[in-house]
């Protein structure tokens, strides 16, 4: 509203208020209602182009939508999807081959080699890669298909794993009965390379002609996918089908050792290949003393009913003096620390430790049973539901009476050495990034800025480092 008096105005301007005259304005009309136009009828205004009849006709028209042509695809065959899921590709011919030294058995426990890349032995005469593949040591999550040939990083944790093998070979810390057993658990954050360390241990063990028994994924034992039955004597649940598969893998990977080819005839290890006592296989079969271990396993592989006894016979023979050293490895230890998916006849969940194979492994891990010379190695996994009891046991905490933790977990890993797998050091990360760059799959040059950026982003975690270097989605 304009104020009537203007500020600092010497002369009053002449202002006219047009509506403030004597004329009054009514807020109502004085026109007669009869002279108003008639109200328009309600509804849509009639358009000049379209008459209402036509409009109605159009709205009632049924639009038939064309169906998209569906392509009939053939159904999957039995096992095809599992094969696709588990297919391991170890070579990429597009990648540039990198010349690297071979990961030989001389490197066991060698500290100077830490922080360098090594190629797995893959010469024509060497069947190590095939044997590792038979043991399912390679996993799909490990980025093998991007590189020309399988290569691994020698880390400071690799040295520690090598020390275990070295101690067994040198018979350090042997008891009165001459038994040497090393037990260890690889533990760390996700993607820190535990499974890869298992692979490296297996590589060395195979090169040294050890007997390698490996359970590549403990999850297969507890998710209720295999047949199971109760054995009366031990009150354990046997998984005979899985045991047959396991023996098959052991047989394929350890052909040379079981035949005793590489050993001189005077070596006691050769004598082991023959059975020292007679065993009963299944209900009817029996193997006599002096039979070859290989033939025992071969017969057991054909008949699942004999598998469990044959497996026990193998373990029993490996605990006798003169037997070759053994490596018993299991990946995803967490999976056998939670209740299994199996049910007993009363429909109670079966505890994982009541299954025969996990029970046997844990007996070796906790030192209740032992090889004559052997290493028992387990690796935890991060892809598992929470295992509070195992975490407490790994941290060395006692069971809190106010926490409802599984009391069987702690004793099952008692006495095992815990190897903490840490993130990569800068030297190791540099070696890894140089390898990516030389393979031609990482385009950025590894200069100080790139290196620092990728190392900081991945916090030295090997899996994240790969993601930071080569992926969009990390």
């Amino acid at each position: 509203m304009v104020s009537p008096i203007l500020w600092r105005c010497p002369q009053m301007p002449h202002i006219i208020y047009p509506f403030k005259s004597g004329l009054r304005i009514h807020s109502f009309t004085t026109t007669s209602p009869l002279s108003a136009k008639p109200l328009k009828p309600k509804g849509s205004p009639p358009s000049s182009k379209m008459n209402p009849g036509k409009q109605r006709m159009q709205s009632s028209k049924v639009h038939v939508k064309k169906k998209p042509i569906m392509v009939q695809k053939p159904a999957y065959e039995v096992g095809q999807r599992k094969e696709l899921r588990k297919r391991i590709v170890l070579s990429n011919t597009n990648a540039i081959p990198v010349v690297l030294p071979t990961m030989t058995a001389d490197l066991i426990g060698n500290e100077d080699a830490a922080g360098a890349m090594f190629a797995l032995p893959s010469r024509e005469a060497d069947t190590i890669v095939d044997r590792l593949r038979a043991l399912e040591a390679f996993q799909t999550k490990q980025h093998w298909p991007f590189f020309y040939r399988p290569c691994t990083l020698f880390r400071k944790e690799t040295v520690e794993v090598g020390r275990l093998l070295e101690r067994v070979m040198r018979r350090e810390g042997a008891g009165e009965d001459g038994r040497v057993n090393e037990r260890a658990i690889l533990h760390g954050y996700y993607g820190c390379g535990r499974s890869m360390l298992l692979l490296q241990a297996m590589t060395w063990a195979l090169q040294k002609e050890w007997v390698v028994i490996a359970i590549p994924n403990a999850q297969d034992l507890v998710i209720g996918h295999t047949e199971y039955e109760l054995e009366g004597n031990s009150h354990l649940w046997l998984q005979k089908a899985y045991t047959t598969d396991l023996l098959n893998r052991v047989l394929e990977a350890n052909q040379k050792t079981l035949k005793g080819v590489g050993f001189p005839s005077s070596c006691p290890a050769r004598a082991m290949m023959k059975i020292s006592q007679s065993y009963r296989l299944g209900r009817t079969d029996e193997v006599q003393k002096g039979d070859l271990m290989k033939t025992v396993l071969e017969t057991a592989v054909l008949d699942p009913l004999l598998a469990w006894d044959a497996f026990n016979a193998l373990l029993g023979e490996l605990s006798l003096p003169g037997s070759p050293p053994a490596l018993f490895a299991l990946d995803n230890l967490n999976q056998i620390s939670i209740p299994s998916k199996y049910r007993d006849p009363a429909f109670n969940a079966i505890h994982s430790h009541d299954l025969a194979l996990p029970n046997t492994f844990l007996a070796y891990l906790s030192g209740k049973r032992g090889f004559h010379k052997g290493v028992t190695l387990a690796a935890t996994s991060s892809k598992c539901s929470r295992t509070l009891a195992l975490d407490a046991a790994l941290e060395g905490r006692g069971v809190d009476p106010y926490e409802r933790l599984d009391p069987r977990i702690g004793p099952s890993i008692e006495g095992a050495q815990i190897i903490h797998v840490d993130s990569l050091s800068k030297e190791e990360a540099k070696a890894l990034m140089d390898y990516y760059n030389e393979s031609g799959i990482m385009k950025d040059p590894v200069d100080i800025a790139t290196f620092n950026e990728k190392y900081a982003v991945s916090a030295g975690n090997p899996r994240d480092l790969f993601g930071a270097c080569l992926r969009i989605r990390q």
Binding site: N92, G440, N452, I472
Partner: protein
């Protein structure tokens, strides 16, 4: 109606405080020129010297003189090279300055342009000024941003170089092509899923055998050798998508007589890529094998580069129709577009 007036309160008219520093402004552009009668006008920085007199070339001058005098000039043509002259006339060598004798026919390596040499100011000769007057304070060298970055106390790394590269922005980390492919694949806003699918596509392209070149596949010119593509999967994807992308789309517009007529319409880069992506994914979905999306898509990308994808047929179909209906192209005279903004060569049609 009377003109509206507005009263202004005096409080509004007060001078607002300005957020300026008290230090004198040093920017000469912002300084206002000060002119006074008593101040002499500034001297020009470089006075025109006598040597800058505009005179024609010496041979031209000779020719003009000869024209005036009615005789023959010294040289028939203006601008005869000195080396040539010396070679033809042996007597000229005696009269030439010493300068040219040593280097006949060779261009001088130094300039002979007359530059005005400013005489030293009479009131302040250089030697006296340096001895008597106090030496002016040495001006500090200009600090470059890089040098400043290196001298931040306590910093581990120098400041990043400016301007930052385009990929350094959090939301624009990837190339525009990858972002478009990701968004094209995305369903229901599940971007993480789409990104991992793109990852799988790129991993598939990395590990497949290199595409075999086929005659007659109109790949983009400048495509690197096909054998090198698997090691650079983004380039691989870009080659496929940019090669099959159409230049135009066909709009069916109502023409005269109520009939619809096809009108080719140029597309921008992003639109072209979208057409290519639609065709590639449509061809991938028609595959008979049971494959995952990433595998299907990667298969089709390889097929595009090898020239056996159905996307090529769609592209040539669009282009043929565009060529046929090129007479219908609307060139709107009322629409003014800067010549630099026109991306599409209409004459190609």
């Amino acid at each position: 109606m009377l003109p509206r007036t507005a009263s202004v309160r005096s409080s509004i008219l007060r001078i607002l405080p300005r957020h300026t520093s008290l230090a004198p402004r040093s920017n000469p552009v912002l300084l206002r020129n000060f002119a006074s009668r008593y101040t002499p006008p500034p001297t020009p920085s470089k006075p025109i010297g006598p040597s800058q007199d505009v005179l024609p070339h010496i041979s031209e001058e000779g020719a003009i003189t000869a024209g005036i005098m009615g005789g023959e000039g010294l040289y028939p043509m203006p601008g005869v090279p000195i080396g040539e002259m010396l070679r033809t006339d042996p007597t000229a060598l005696q009269n030439t300055p010493k300068l040219f004798k040593g280097i006949p026919g060779v261009k001088r390596e130094y300039s002979t342009t007359a530059t005005p040499i400013e005489p030293p100011l009479p009131e302040a000769p250089a030697d006296i000024a340096s001895s008597t007057a106090p030496a002016p304070a040495p001006t500090p060298p200009p600090v470059s941003p890089d040098a400043f970055a290196l001298t931040i106390p306590g910093a581990k790394y120098p400041l990043p170089k400016l301007p930052l590269p385009s990929c350094s922005h959090l939301k624009h980390r990837y190339s525009t092509l990858l972002e478009q492919v990701t968004n094209f694949i995305m369903i229901g806003g599940r971007k993480a899923k789409a990104e991992s699918l793109v990852d799988q596509i790129l991993a598939n392209l990395r590990t497949r055998p290199a595409p075999k070149p086929r005659e007659g596949t109109p790949l983009l010119p400048g495509t690197p050798a096909l054998s090198t593509l698997p090691l650079d999967p983004i380039q691989y994807l870009q080659t496929a998508i940019d090669s099959v992308s159409p230049l135009v789309k066909i709009l069916m517009l109502k023409g005269g007589g109520g009939a619809k007529q096809p009108v080719p319409y140029p597309l921008r880069l992003r639109q072209r890529r979208r057409f290519a992506l639609t065709w590639i994914s449509a061809a991938a979905d028609k595959k008979k094998d049971r494959l995952g999306f990433a595998e299907r898509f990667a298969d089709e990308v390889v097929a595009v580069v090898e020239g056996r994808s159905s996307a090529w047929e769609k592209r040539s179909q669009v282009h043929k129709l565009a060529v046929v209906s090129r007479a219908n192209v609307i060139i709107d005279p009322g629409r003014t577009v800067a010549p630099s903004k026109i991306r599409f060569p209409i004459a190609v049609l």
